[in-house]
């Protein structure tokens, strides 16, 4: 079912921080390419990967979770050009969606996660944690929409975004959007953007760590939050290492 033939503009809420010029280079047909997956009742789908290269990239994933199913998605976004990952999740009764995302990089590229979490049935939970580290005029975005249907009582939904900007000129944007029709729900969201803690940098220097070593250690600790729920140690290491390698590129 083709959804759109024309490119969105930044007037569209879900595209307000997008790099629409880069999107034009990708082409409108990419908008119709969804990777779709249904997770059967009681089963778990786990996925972790790295996105982003030298060309613009758009990936769209649609997950439908049956009752008691679980989906875990962990992504490091290291795009050197516009790189956007969209995830749309529909949760059945008692299902759980876990999302951990990292955006990291400099240059002038925009990296973004756009999630739509639809709590369609009661007692489902979702937890999303995104950490963004940028420098140069790089940008990291997290647009997270949560929709809670009228019948989806006892929904628990949480979103947490933190941006760390290593230089003036970099930016991070969080757009939480809640649309709640049920009355017995818990929805939490938080977003902060800051710089490396000056007092921690001094303290670490006083113990002998160079500014580069200090930055790496603090960034590693900062990003770690996004991957806490990733149970596979090797995968967690791989996603974190890809992000830290990106950091090394910063001169």
């Amino acid at each position: 079912m083709p959804e759109t033939a024309t490119l969105p503009t930044r007037r569209d809420e879900a595209w307000r921080y997008a790099d629409v010029d880069a999107l034009a280079r990708i082409g409108a047909e990419a908008l119709d390419q969804w990777t779709e997956m249904a997770v059967p009742a009681g089963e778990t789908h786990r996925e972790s990967f790295i996105v982003g290269g030298d060309a613009p990239e758009l990936r769209r994933i649609r997950l439908v979770l049956s009752a008691g199913a679980r989906a875990e998605l962990f992504v490091t976004n290291i795009g050197a050009d516009y790189t956007r990952l969209e995830v749309e999740v529909t949760l059945g009764k008692g299902a759980h969606f876990e999302f951990g995302g990292i955006t990291i990089g400099g240059g002038d590229a925009v990296r973004e996660f756009v999630t739509t979490t639809i709590h369609a049935e009661p007692e489902a939970t979702s937890n999303q944690t995104v950490r963004s580290v940028h420098w140069g005029t790089g940008t990291g975005n997290f647009l997270g929409e949560i929709k809670v249907a009228r019948r989806a009582q006892k929904t628990g939904a949480a979103q947490d975004f933190k941006g760390l900007l290593l230089e003036a000129g970099a930016s991070a944007n969080a757009v939480p959007q809640l649309e709640i029709f049920a009355d017995d729900v818990k929805c939490a969201h938080g977003a902060t953007v800051g710089q490396l803690d000056e007092s921690a940098r001094y303290y670490m220097a006083a113990r002998g760590l160079s500014p580069e070593e200090t930055r790496r250690l603090l960034v590693q600790a900062f990003l770690g939050d996004a991957l806490v729920e990733l149970g596979d140690d090797a995968e967690r290491e791989r996603l974190l290492e890809a992000a830290l390698e990106k950091l090394e590129e910063r001169k």
């Binding site: 220097a205 113990r207 500014p211 250690l217 600790a221």
Partner: protein, 249 residues
């Protein structure tokens, strides 16, 4: 070992140190006492190289070189340790990871081989034991959730592991109960009492000096050293207060 000559320093635009001169040779523990606002912590941070602390005049020679030629992390590599009055919390970084990287970074600076994970843990265990700190505490995040006293004790474990040549300890005794004070004091003795090491001990209280017996005691007031003497000076201060002792000087 540490030779401070006519040091002037500002914090922001405010002059705090106003011609401070002090020499601490190797093998000596030198206590600095002084009223609030005298510039004791500023002295510690100027030596540590804290951003925002600007040296406007004077010099500091450390182990034969110009201290101010070195960046803060290079000062640590050269053997300077700064014990913080308010140790900083570093969420997400464990003590073990932090200290191993710090030690190996210092060793690299000095052209020494890094310690392996096993060697480091053995060293950390030994030094934690010296300060009667549970190894489990070292596996936790740096200073996160530590009480005031635990933070100070952890500072001394860090000092033991990093094994500096010279320690500037800024009110390491504040926030400690009597038992912890003795443990910390004895830790300082065992780590730093050596003919090739020196200590600048900033404190308000005689109690720590009962354990770490200083060779010299100086009074810092209004950005200068106004009086220097033996351990008896600290005892007089405890009994009579700064105003009386300084009026006699």
């Amino acid at each position: 070992m540490l030779n401070i000559e006519n040091l002037h320093a500002n914090v922001g635009d405010t002059p705090i140190l106003k011609g401070l001169t002090l020499e601490v040779p190797a093998g000596e523990v030198h206590a600095i006492m002084g009223p609030n606002g005298a510039g004791k912590s500023t002295l510690a941070h100027v030596l540590g190289g804290k951003p925002g602390y600007e040296v406007t005049q004077g010099s500091v020679e450390f182990r034969g070189g110009d201290l101010f030629d070195l960046d803060p992390h290079e000062r640590a590599g050269a053997g300077l340790f700064l014990g913080f009055q308010y140790p900083v919390e570093i969420p997400g970084v464990s003590n073990v990871q932090f200290l191993r990287e710090a030690l190996n970074s210092q060793r690299k600076y000095r052209g020494e081989e890094p310690l392996s994970g096993g060697e480091f843990l053995k060293l950390a265990k030994e030094k934690a034991g010296l300060l009667k700190m549970d190894m489990e505490m070292l596996k936790r995040q740096v200073n996160v959730g530590f009480s005031g006293g635990e933070k100070k004790r952890a500072e001394m474990v860090q000092m033991g592991i990093l094994d500096p040549k010279f320690a500037v300890l800024d009110e390491t005794d504040s926030g400690l109960d009597i038992d912890a004070l003795r443990i910390v004091g004895e830790g300082i003795n065992s780590i730093m009492r050596s003919p090739d090491k020196g200590v600048l001990l900033i404190t308000h209280y005689q109690r720590l000096l009962d354990v770490v017996k200083p060779d010299r005691v100086s009074i810092l007031a209004d950005g200068r050293i106004v009086q220097t003497g033996g351990p008896e000076l600290a005892l007089r201060l405890e009994g009579e207060g700064y105003d009386a002792v300084m009026a006699d000087a």
